[in-house]
Structure formats: C-alpha cells, structure tokens
C-alpha cells in the first residue's frame, strides 16, 4: 500500500536528497582542501564596516561608506600602518537588523576583523551590540542613540562617534535659554531617530526651564503635516522643534513656511545638517536653526578652533573625490575609522588591546568633536561639540 503510493510522487525525493547530500559533502571537501593557501607576507590589519548603503537609512550610509573607503585608500597609499596594509571590508545592512547581525557575525568569523565600524543606524547598532560583546571585538558605532553605549558596564566593547541626541538637545536648549525661549512645541517622526530625540527633548526640558506645550508625532512617509503644525500654532509656543529624518524634515520646513508661521522660530535636529536639504528647500529654509556637527561648517570655524584643520582637510578631500558636500554622517565614519587606525598604530591589531586603548584615549580631534573616552563614557563628546547654526541665504552661518 505505502510502497505503491510512493510511485505517484513525480519527484523521487529520496534520490534527490541523496544527491544533495553528496554535493554537500563534496563541496565541503573542496573548500577544506583550499584551506591554508592564504598565507601572506605581512598580515593586513582588518577593519570591518557595516553601513546602511541601501534601504531607508541609505542617505546616511552612503557618505559613510564613501568616507571609509577614501580614508583607507589614502592610508594604504602611504604604506599602511606600521608596514601593515589596512583592509576594509564593508557590508551593507540594507537598514535591516537581521542583515546587520549577520554581517557582524560574518565580519567576526569569516573575515576575522579586529574592529568593527558602524552600523549606521541605532536599531542595527543595537542588534549588533550583543554580538560584539560576546565575540569581544570592539565596535565603533556611527549611530546616535545613547542606548548603544549605556550602561557602559554591559557595553564594554562598544564605542560610538556620533554625538548623542542628548548633546544636540542640551545645546539647543541652552541656546533657547539664552534667547529667553520658555515654551516649545515639539514634533517628531516615528522612526528610531525621531523617537530617541523625543525622549531626550522631554527628559532635558525641565533642566533648562523649558515647558513643552505640544508633543506631536507623525510617520516617516507622511505627505502632510498641516494638522500637526496647526495644533502647535494654536498652543502659541515660543519655538518649534522638529526632530525627524528623511523627507519629512523638508516637509516640516515647507509647512512651517506655507502656513505663515515664520514668526515662531523653527529648530531642527542635527540630522538636518545636510547641504542637500538646503538645495531642495531653497529660500524656504531661511531662518531655520539647528545644532550642527563641526565637520559640515569647517570653514566657518574660527582659526583657533581645534577642529578647524581636520574638518577643512576632510571636506576638501571628500568634495574633490566625490563631487558632493560632506555630511555629518560621513564625519561619524571618519571618526570611527580614524579611531581604529590610531589604535592599530598604537597597539597593533589585538582586539582587547584596541578596546583598552580606545577607552583611555583623550583629546582625539575628530570631525564630530574632540573625543575624551573614559571607562564611564564610550562616546567621549559633550554638548560643546555641536554648534548652533542658522540658515541664511541658502548656507549655514553661526547662530548668535
């Protein structure tokens, strides 16, 4: 009975599975025999990188990838570090946590890197954190959320180069306090970036004597923010803060202008600090205020500013090579890769030594600020490392 039923199955599974099994075994045999052929004269120092080159976070990940490639090429042109060439392995996480996690595993197990740079966004970074911790490989994230490096006791191997939202918020609030702004309405989008910014805005408002009169949210794909702005206007705040990423931050500025609300100053998050936004908005962006990473406004910095030199150099190199303006995100990658390189130079490629080196590193002048790491602080930046700017005539000027 049973055997006769077997006849009808068009596919002889048994035979096929056997064949697959054979192929399986054979292919492993082949890979096995290839082992040991990759001996090299001078072992390269390996940096792994995970960036969101595609997907929703791609406008962050792309400049990061470009920056990292540019730096490593430069270093290798100069003969590498201590005679070792530097190898950069970049994987795209497609703004997807699963892919980020797998990319990290691959970097650690297959490529055997000494340090990982990235991921680009907070979500992917948080997914990679436990992996790096378990493998004891230093991870230098380019994302903003403070959760990535706190509590430090559980994040011993994790560092990050992006200013925390907290710094941007504090810098913004301090500016407001000096201007006498007391009541603000906040808008945020429902992405990780917006949600994290909103948390910090709510948390620090009391410290600076600021009252939050409105707390509005919207989706990252929203086509119309009129309702939210109208509501905020009805509550008569002294200023509006919009904390979002992607097209909605442009939409926010347009709505603000079209509804004739320019008498209420609009503050944007540091995520707005990209020249592309100014190009799209044109005149509409006049008067928008935001904290910005020094990397973007290198030229505006006073000559005695410690970051003047590195920011201008990086901006020149990047803009010549890629024909596009630098962004804060590229700066995060610059910092992360340079931190890794400086660690290689100082202690070689042992992950544990790199971790200890980074934790003790002081006064490292980067694009996003001057880093002072400590066993309690794996970000190493303060609110001073963001600079308030205003949009004037389609360009940034220091806000006064």
């Amino acid at each position: 009975m049973e055997s006769r039923r077997g006849k009808i199955s068009k596919v002889n599974w048994q035979r096929i599975l056997m064949a697959i099994f054979l192929i399986f075994v054979l292919s492993f045999g082949l890979i096995w025999s290839e082992r040991g052929t990759d001996a090299k004269d001078k072992e390269p120092y390996k940096i792994g990188a995970i960036f969101s080159v595609t997907g929703v976070g791609s406008f962050l990940g792309e400049p990061e990838k470009k920056t990292a490639l540019m730096i490593v090429e430069e270093v290798n042109k100069k003969g590498g570090i201590n005679g070792h060439p530097v190898e950069l392995i970049v994987y795209d996480d497609e703004s997807d946590t699963t892919k980020a996690a797998l990319a990290a595993k691959r970097l650690i197990k297959k490529d055997m890197v000494s340090v990982i740079v990235g991921p680009t966004r907070s979500g992917e970074s948080l997914a990679v954190v436990p992996i790096a911790e378990e493998a004891k490989i230093p991870l230098i994230s380019c994302a903003a959320s403070y959760k990535i490096v706190t509590p430090v006791s559980e994040r011993r191997w994790i560092f990050k180069t992006a200013q925390s939202d907290q710094h941007a918020v504090e810098q913004m609030y301090e500016f407001m306090r000096n201007k006498g702004i007391r009541k603000v309405g906040i808008l945020s989008d429902s992405t990780g970036f917006g949600a994290s910014g909103r948390e910090e805005l709510l948390r620090y408002a009391p410290h600076y004597g600021i009252e939050i009169v409105a707390d509005e949210r919207y989706g990252p794909k929203d086509t119309d923010l009129t309702a939210q702005f109208t509501k905020i206007r009805s509550l008569k705040p002294d200023a509006i803060i919009n904390w979002s990423i992607g097209p909605t931050q442009i939409l926010a500025v347009q709505t603000w202008r079209n509804l004739g609300m320019t008498d209420i100053p609009l503050f944007q998050s540091h995520g707005f600090g990209s020249r592309k936004n100014l190009e799209i908005l044109g005149q509409a962006a006049e008067g928008v205020l935001l904290p910005i990473s020094p990397v973007i406004i290198g030229k505006l910095l006073p000559n005695d500013h410690p970051q003047k030199k590195v920011t201008v150099e990086y901006a020149n190199a990047y803009e010549t090579l890629y024909k596009e303006p630098v962004s804060a995100f590229g700066g995060y990658a610059w910092d992360a890769v340079q931190l890794a390189l400086s660690a290689f130079k100082a202690v070689g490629n042992d992950p544990a030594k790199i971790r200890d080196y980074l934790e003790g590193l002081k006064n490292f002048v980067g694009q996003s600020g001057v880093f002072n790491f400590s066993p309690d602080d794996h970000n190493g930046l303060t609110k001073k490392d963001l600079i308030m700017v205003e949009v004037r005539n389609g360009d940034w000027v220091l806000a006064k």
């Binding site: 068009k10 596919v11 096929i16 492993f28 890979i31 096995w32 997807d96 946590t97 959320s145 429902s190």
Partner: protein
Amino acid sequence: MNRKNLPGFLVFLVCIGLFPVFATRISAIQHYLDVMIFGGIFGIVAIGLSLLMGYAGQISLAHAAFMGIGAYSSGILTTHFNFSPVPALFLGLLITAIIAFSVGVPSLRLKGHYLAMATLGFGVIVHIIFSEEVNWTGGPSGLVGIPGFGLGDWKLKSTLQWYYFVWLWVAVSILIALNLVNSRIGRAFRAIHEDEKAAEAMGVPTARYKVQIFVVSAAMAAFAGSLYAHYVEFINPGSFDLVWSIRFILMVMVGGIQSIWGSLLGSLFLTFLSNEWLQVFAELEILIYGIILFIISLFFPDGLFPVIFRFLAQQLERRYE
C-alpha cells in the same frame, strides 16, 4: 512520519547534524552557522505559510506581523514582567493564536484579492502599534535587553547550541507539517484549495478548517518570532513589516508553493542569497528580488525548485535506464 517521507527526513537530519562539523572547521564558512540559524527561523515561518498558502490555498500578507506578535510578546513579557523565556514563549503563542483566530474568522470569509488586502491591512496596523506603543515596545528604536533563551540556570550560549536548538524546532515543524499534510486534514486542505464547494459537499467543514490552519500557521510564525527575539536579543518594528511578509511569500514561492521541503529550501536559499551571494549587487538586490518573484509567479506559479527537481529527476531516471 509515514514511510514515504522517512528516508528524506533521515537524510535531512544527517545533513543538519553534520553541517556544523564541517562549518566550524572552515573559517570561510564558519559564519554559515549563523546564516543557517536565521534561515531556520525563517524556514519555520515559511513552512507554516506553505501549509496555509500552498495547501489550503489562502493567502496571507500578515505573517511578518504574526512573527512580530510572537517576538514582541516574548520581548515584553521577559523585559517588563520578568518572565522566563519558556513561559513567555508559550504565552506568546497563546496570544498570537487568539489574535489570529479573531482576525481569521472574518478575514477568511473573503477570497482572493480581498483576503490579501485584509491581511495586508491587518499587518500594517500591527506594525503601527509596534511603532506607537513606545512604553511597551520601545517604539521605532526597538526593544533592548531581551534575554537569551534558557530555562532556569541553563542558557543557550554558543552559536553551535543555538544552531542545534533552532534546527531541532525546524525538524519538529517539518514533522508536524508532513504529518498534517499526509492526513485526512491535510487532504481536506488541498480539497479546499482546489474546489471549496466540492470539499464542503464531501463533508469538509471548510470555514472551520481554514481558520484552524490560519491559526496554526500564525502560531508557527509567532514561535519563530519568539526564537528570533531571544537570539538577536533586540527587536524593532522594521523586522516585521510588509517587506518581510512579501519575503516569506517569496520563500514559499521559490521553494514550491505546495511543498514543505521546498519552503524550507526556499527560505534557506533566499536567506543565503540576500545575506551572502547577493551582497555584490547591494543596491540592486531589491530589484533582483522583484524580478525573481515576477518571473517565478508568471512562469513557474507552482514554484521554482519543483520545476528544477522534476527536471533533475527526469535526467537521473534517463541516466539509469
């Protein structure tokens, strides 16, 4: 397990059992174990979806959402209520089953496009809830601090342990699915797929069976979601959106819509494709995905692998004769 499937299942067990022996020794493919863990987790979803789509003929664009409900149930119960993973997992399954039941009863009265749209709408609503209920779900930034899987003092630690643990459950899913398919209930599903009216006239309670398989399929997705949450120790809404629901459908379609083994192979194939083999295409991956799905659905609506296997089997048979 009936005798027809036994040899295949044994070969499967041997392959799965031996794979780490090779993988851990070769650095170039060591991380394949991790890919296999994800492939296995997605495989459980795909097997469930194949039961629903391939056998019972009902489409669902909400399977990522069900996976998410399982993942978030586990995540929230363990982080907010200090549940241990095992009871959290079972409570999560129960919650998912209840939700799937209440959605399934009205949805499955619909057919074709309308069923697709209803499940799609439900999936998007669930996704919005994951993003909005910040206090519980951590919102779009995600839920951190989910413990690894374990019971009492025993915890799953190494990748190898996880690998065997996940694939144990894949094997169980396959066993359940194969048994179900080769039973009166499985035949009834296929009958519903082919001709609902005739099935009803043969005494098959079609409405009840459709809801039952929907619930079972959703619960399998939730189980996979729970494993995912404990393995990655972090979840965010982005892992459970419409794109993932479509990916699961693609896995089933590639593997052969009416094939349990096929769906598992399909999920492995696509997981490796997008995480390993297609990395070179980076930017173009989504486009390539679309084209693959397009070609399969137009030219091989029964799945890609069955066509290939049928061809191989024919060749083999010709060789033997």
